[in-house]
């Protein structure tokens, strides 16, 4: 049964992106002027990404999603290849302390963003193939978990903890959806906790992040700096905010406010009203995405639609929780709103896939 694609989802995403562009301008022009002598630097770049994104989204919207089922292996293989290549000095370049970029001129491409989508496609197909053995730990679960851990490991070599976490969580949640027994998740949870302990022991700077999360004022100029600056932006916002463009924290207090902490500036300038708008738009995306997933007869489409929706939403939730100090700083962007080409393009491609699935509803 062929229908029209989901218009509500398209509108919600478009609104978020448009709103994001406005806020990127507001939060970045100070830094842009300071760094590049061009207050519109980030806006121009993002506009280009958005244009590209819409073109890609519309192309992908028209492509039959079943092609991903067939090409899942290749897609995933290319993702893995890039994840390995990016680690090689000379090919991958270092930005903000992580070797996670392919630099092409002033543009940068992050393969880990693509890997997030790649693993959802790969896992969705895997779950169809191993449908019968899914409850068998050795034959069903272990292989896919090992693959996920491999990807996670590659991303952690960059390192990019936030992206890695989203990738792992998305895979595990897909396993949960597919009907894996609860007992398995308890074991996995215990192992995960152990894993986190080990990761912290390997890189002690993460302890600082956790301490600064519990009490950011314990080291206000060091590890607690970002979260304090974020709260200084959110707090004075109040109900209606300070007014568009009137943020004070963007005046070099909050570093790179157009990226991970764009939400702080939004709540500073637009207050609770702005926050509510953003959460409602994400809520709409969640609602549309879940509706699409529920309405699919095709199991692959169901997994894929849910995986994509979940990944976007969990990333948004993680970003918001970081910004308001509920979880430690992990370094994930706010989908559609934060400045950044790779993140935006992958998000829009994901939505393109969702839209194409939405045409096949029961």
């Amino acid at each position: 049964m062929k229908k029209r694609y989901d218009l509500l989802l398209f509108i919600a995403v478009t609104l978020l992106i448009a709103f994001g562009l406005l806020m990127i301008y507001s939060s970045s022009y100070i830094w842009a002027d300071y760094k590049f002598n061009d207050p519109f630097k980030y806006v121009k770049m993002q506009s280009l990404f958005i244009l590209t994104g819409f073109i890609l989204m519309n192309i992908i919207r028209k492509i039959d999603y079943r092609i991903y089922y067939k090409k899942a292996g290749i897609i995933f293989g290319i993702c893995l290849l890039f994840l390995i290549l990016v680690l090689i000095p000379g090919i991958g370049s270092i930005r903000n302390g992580s070797r996670s970029w392919f630099g092409i001129g002033s543009f940068g491409i992050q393969p880990s963003e693509a890997a997030k989508l790649g693993i959802i496609i790969f896992t969705s197909r895997y779950l169809i193939i191993k449908q019968k053995k899914i409850k068998d730990i050795k034959k069903g679960l272990l292989p896919i978990l090992l693959v996920t851990l491999l990807v996670f490991g590659l991303i952690m070599l960059q390192p990019d903890f936030g992206t890695g976490m989203i990738l792992v969580i998305s895979t595990i949640i897909l396993l949960f959806i597919a009907g894996v027994k609860m007992k398995f998740f308890f074991i996995l949870g215990a192992l995960g906790a152990l894993g986190i302990v080990i990761i912290i022991l390997i890189a002690p700077y993460r302890i600082d992040r956790i301490i600064s999360f519990i009490d950011p004022w314990s080291d206000p100029l060091g590890t607690g700096f970002q979260i304090i600056q974020s709260l200084y932006a959110i707090g004075p916002g109040g109900l209606l905010g300070m007014g568009l463009f009137n943020s004070r924290q963007k005046h070099f207090y909050l570093p790179e406010p157009q990226t991970d902490f764009i939400f702080s500036i939004i709540s500073e300038e637009l207050g609770i009203v702005g926050v509510l708008l953003i959460i409602l738009l994400f809520g709409l995306i969640l609602y549309s995405g879940i509706k699409i997933a529920l309405n699919q007869k095709d199991l692959f489409a169901k997994y894929l639609a849910f995986g994509i929706t979940f990944q976007i939403i969990i990333q948004a939730i993680m970003n918001l929780m970081v910004v308001i100090g509920l979880i430690p700083v992990t370094g994930v962007t706010l989908p559609f709103l934060s400045y950044g080409g790779s993140s935006l393009l992958i998000s829009m491609i994901s939505v393109g896939i969702l839209l194409s699935i939405s045409k096949y509803q029961e």
């Binding site: 959110i234 707090g235 109040g238 005046h251 070099f252 997933a293 969990i314």
Partner: protein, 635 residues
């Protein structure tokens, strides 16, 4: 069936995510509505930089509103190093204008701080310097108005007023004691800056400074001025070690005037030694009172009814033996037969020894306690001394005898005037005080008022009346006669005390004092005057202090508008031993003429010539006949 279970788990996750969104929204709302003020305040501190504006210090006013401590507005240099674009240029320019080395200036200009006050070279800048800096129009270089303390009458009342430091903080006197009221609250120009310290184009907030509160003193400027003038005269005439005077309203303990020498100019307090600055002699100095103490002995005796001043008599043979020690009267040969009123008039020591011994040590010393000797009066100033009186168990007859005429005890001037005020006001010992009230700075409306405070009742009103009469009699007929003012019924008592050093009396080194009451029948003011070691003068206080006290009393009468009193005791001219004559003005006269006019003095010349260009003592001074008058001659 299979799809159903999947959809069930999808829905479960959908709800979990919705709940997370709601939770996030509630958390943000909590931060923005509940933590709002706290975070806003913290953030404002982060964003804002303050250019301080000092508050005007409260004024200090006399009882009639004369401003004794004022403020002037000066300009200070403040730098905000982050806003300075060309630090090198600014440092060179400023060092030239302020005439300091560039290295000095670099320390300020390159300092890693949000706001740098250029101290001390940039404080209190004169107009032309400030103008030069202003005209350069450098970013980050600010001139802020700064209020500075100013004492318009310089030395007047200096020890009471005290002085303030460079940051307008009270360091001494009333300035220190009432610093919390006087200081006010500094204001600021608050502007917002980015994290690099640059000024943001956001609106500046002006927080007006809050002026301090005004302090209203009990001091009367006119009487104070009179004291200062006379003390200056005393210094130039007698070159004393110290000199001091207090005027008190005996009816409530208000200090009307208080001063001492050496003094200082609080505008330039740094030019004086700490000793000069800190010693407020009227409350700090402690010395043998001498004869003024006889007022207390007499009051005690009258109150205990052991003597009737007018009917009981005493024969003074010139000395009295107490426990084998001879105590002489100041008058060789003694005063002979006299009533006790005459004993008082003549200040006859043996007569007071008689009174003291009759009272006995318990009774006399209980009156010393009653009148507050040996304890601080509690005046609202720092640095008050306690004085020393004999411990009762060590008092033998000799100590009792000397105490009764004011030797062997050590008291402060403020104790004496407070005690004598009680003697003449009907017996009420009031706590002396200087601050009458505190008023709001802008409106001068009084917010706190200090009332008289009765310490205790000392003697009966009848005894007090008798004492007032006795004191008037001393001025009309006795040793205080040079303080006599026609129709104003002045009462008083002189005192000449030998100074003690290392347990021995110094020779020719006296503290001369005078205690006066005006008018004696219903006292409105009590004056205490003391000169420590006056040079070039007769050795009796009567001739030295009383004429000065008289001039002050005349000013007090005018300042307080005291009316003429009827029924004064008739003045008796007593040319008992020496004759006195007034020194005429001989300046600009020929040597011959001068010699003629100065017939009853011994004339000593200095310089050479035919014309007198300077004389000492000045014209109008009363001198014992035959005293030396020096003349400076020129052609």
């Amino acid at each position: 069936m299979f799809h159903g279970k999947i959809n069930e788990r999808i829905r479960l996750l959908f709800f979990i995510m919705i709940i997370l969104f709601i939770f996030i929204f509630l958390r943000v709302s909590y931060i923005e509505l509940v933590d709002y003020q706290k975070l806003k305040d913290l953030a404002e501190d982060l964003w804002s930089r303050n250019l301080p504006i000092t508050a005007d210090r409260g004024l200090i006013l006399d009882r009639n509103g004369v401003v004794l401590a004022d403020n002037i507005t000066t300009t200070s240099l403040v730098l905000i190093p982050n806003q300075i674009k060309d630090k090198e240029l600014v440092s060179i320019s400023l060092s030239k204008i302020l005439k300091v080395t560039k290295e000095e200036m670099d320390k300020h200009v390159y300092k890693k701080t949000s706001i740098e006050r250029v101290h001390p070279e940039g404080r209190g800048l004169p107009y032309d310097i400030a103008n030069q800096i202003e005209s350069l129009k450098f970013d980050g270089v600010y001139l802020v108005k700064e209020s500075k303390r100013y004492y318009p009458y310089n030395n007047l009342l200096s020890h009471v007023l005290g002085y303030v430091g460079i940051d307008n903080q009270g360091l001494s006197g009333v300035e220190l004691l009432y610093d919390n009221y006087l200081m006010g609250e500094d204001g600021a120009i608050k502007y917002f800056s980015d994290a690099k310290g640059k000024k943001l184009a956001l609106s500046e907030v002006y927080k007006a400074p809050l002026s301090g509160m005004n302090i209203l003193l009990t001091i009367d400027y006119n009487i104070q001025k009179s004291l200062e003038r006379e003390l200056n005269n005393i210094v130039s005439m007698f070159n004393p070690d110290m000199a001091l005077a207090i005027v008190m309203d005996p009816n409530n303990g208000e200090i009307l005037a208080m001063s001492s020498r050496p003094d200082y100019d609080p505008n330039y307090y740094l030019d004086y030694s700490m000793e000069k600055l800190s010693r407020n002699l009227p409350i700090w100095a402690s010395f043998e009172p001498g004869s003024t103490f006889k007022i207390i002995t007499t009051a005690a005796s009258v109150e205990e009814k052991i003597v009737d001043l007018e009917t009981d008599t005493f024969y003074d043979a010139g000395s009295v033996i107490v426990d084998g020690r001879r105590i002489g009267c100041w008058k060789a040969g003694g005063h002979g037969h006299q009533t006790f009123l005459q004993v008082m008039e003549n200040s006859c020591n043996p007569g007071f020894v008689k009174l003291g011994l009759t009272l006995g040590k318990e009774r006399l010393f209980s009156y010393l306690d009653l009148f507050g000797f040996g304890e601080k009066t509690g005046i609202d100033l720092n640095g008050e001394a306690t004085g020393i009186i004999f411990p009762l168990e060590k008092v033998k007859n000799l100590e009792l005898a000397t105490t009764s005429f004011g030797q062997g005890v050590s008291v402060t001037p403020i104790q004496q005037i407070t005690a004598v005020s009680a003697v003449v006001n009907g017996g009420n010992l009031y706590k002396p005080f200087l601050v009458k009230g505190i008023a709001e700075g802008q409106t001068n409306s009084i917010i706190k008022q200090f009332q008289k405070e009765l310490v205790r009742q000392t003697i009966s009103p009848d005894t007090s009346a008798t004492m007032r009469y006795a004191l008037e009699s001393v001025v009309a007929r006795g040793g205080g006669r040079y303080a006599y003012i026609e129709d104003y019924r002045v009462g008083g008592k002189t005192g000449t005390a030998q100074k003690v050093q290392d347990g021995r009396y110094l020779i020719n080194n006296y503290i001369m004092s005078f205690l006066a009451v005006v008018p004696a029948n219903k006292p409105e003011a009590v004056l205490f005057l003391a000169i420590d070691n006056p040079k070039n003068t007769a050795l009796l206080s009567s001739y030295t202090t009383a004429p000065i006290a008289r001039r002050i009393l005349l000013d007090i009468i005018e300042a307080l508008n005291i009316e003429k009193q009827p029924n004064a005791i008739e003045r008796v001219m007593q040319w008992d031993s020496e004759k006195y004559a007034v020194v005429p003005n001989v300046i600009n006269k020929s040597v011959k003429e001068a010699n003629k006019e100065l017939f009853n003095f011994e004339v000593v010349y200095t310089g050479s010539g035919n014309r007198v260009i300077e004389q000492s003592p000045k014209a109008g001074t009363k001198l014992i006949e035959g005293s030396i008058v020096r003349l400076l001659l020129a052609d």
